[in-house]
């Protein structure tokens, strides 16, 4: 049972992460995403954390690494699915997630990616 799933949506990837994901699987996920993003010229990755009840500093670290890596591969990262308790805990734990975008759900995440695509085309 792999604790994550990757669903392609055109030139965007939708990644769903399961609650009990371990360090090793996370590392594999990052590797896989790196390869997929560069091979298929993916411009955006949406990470859905709605099945994750706990975001600790370790997961946050991996997410930050992911966003940094994808930025270097010219792809944007958007995180969705953070519940109110998770957000409160992230603030209380002073866990920062800088350089990452957030959206309310997958639909709005796509909006955000489309908007930035438009911005990028204009410039």
């Amino acid at each position: 049972m792999v604790p994550f799933s990757i669903f392609p949506l055109g030139d965007v990837l939708l990644v769903s992460i399961q609650e009990e994901i371990d360090d090793v699987s996370l590392a594999s996920l990052l590797d896989l995403l790196g390869i997929t993003v560069s091979q298929r010229r993916i411009r955006g990755v949406i990470v859905d954390l709605k099945d994750v009840d706990v975001v600790d500093s370790f997961l946050a670290e991996h997410l930050w690494s992911l966003a940094s890596m994808l930025a270097l591969l010219h792809a944007q990262t958007v995180i969705v699915g953070l519940s109110v308790p998770v957000v409160m805990t992230l603030l209380d734990f002073d866990i920062a997630l800088k350089g990452v975008e957030f959206a309310l759900d997958v639909e709005q995440a796509l909006d955000k990616l489309n908007v930035s695509k438009k911005t990028r085309q204009v410039t």
């Binding site: 009990e20 009840d53 600790d56 500093s57 370790f58 998770v86 002073d94 866990i95």
Partner: protein, 150 residues
């Protein structure tokens, strides 16, 4: 085999402890056992979703620390009572290499910036009482976290 000279902090007598349950944490079983133990225990008591998230996050942080820095150890969990108040007491123990600079590890910002973070400042923010004993060169680390529930 050198004797473990782990410094154990004296038990506080200010609350009536319910039996702590200890679960091993190692690369084979990961954090799944301690997570389900805590999750099930929390279901038995009235607790807000924010408090529950905070406790699970503390467990995760402590567990990940053990896995990353010592490879194996154990985490004990107990629901405690003091009068009408309910709280939880978590202890995380390992015989790893210890925390070299306790002061640094507790400084805010340390957990975010260089990836060597132990999430300790965050845990200290969230909990009511955190006590740490750590001996370097094989002495191990013992962390006790106390949190009262609203």
């Amino acid at each position: 085999m050198s004797q473990r000279k782990l410094v154990k902090l004296p038990d506080s007598q200010m609350y009536d402890t319910e039996c702590p349950v200890c679960v091993p944490v190692n690369k084979t079983v990961g954090l799944a056992p301690i997570r389900s133990l805590v999750r099930c225990s929390l279901e038995e008591i009235t607790i807000s979703s924010v408090d529950s998230a905070a406790i699970m996050t503390i467990i995760n942080e402590l567990g990940h620390n053990i896995l990353r820095h010592a490879g194996r150890g154990k985490i004990c969990f107990a629901v405690i009572g003091h009068g009408e108040r309910l709280g939880i007491r978590i202890t995380a123990e390992d015989s790893g290499s210890g925390i070299p600079d306790l002061a640094m590890a507790l400084k805010p910002g340390f957990s975010r910036d260089d990836g060597l973070g132990l999430g300790l400042p965050g845990i200290r923010n969230m909990a009511d009482d955190v006590r740490i004993a750590s001996l370097v060169s094989g002495g191990g680390t013992f962390i006790e976290v106390l949190k009262w529930l609203s």
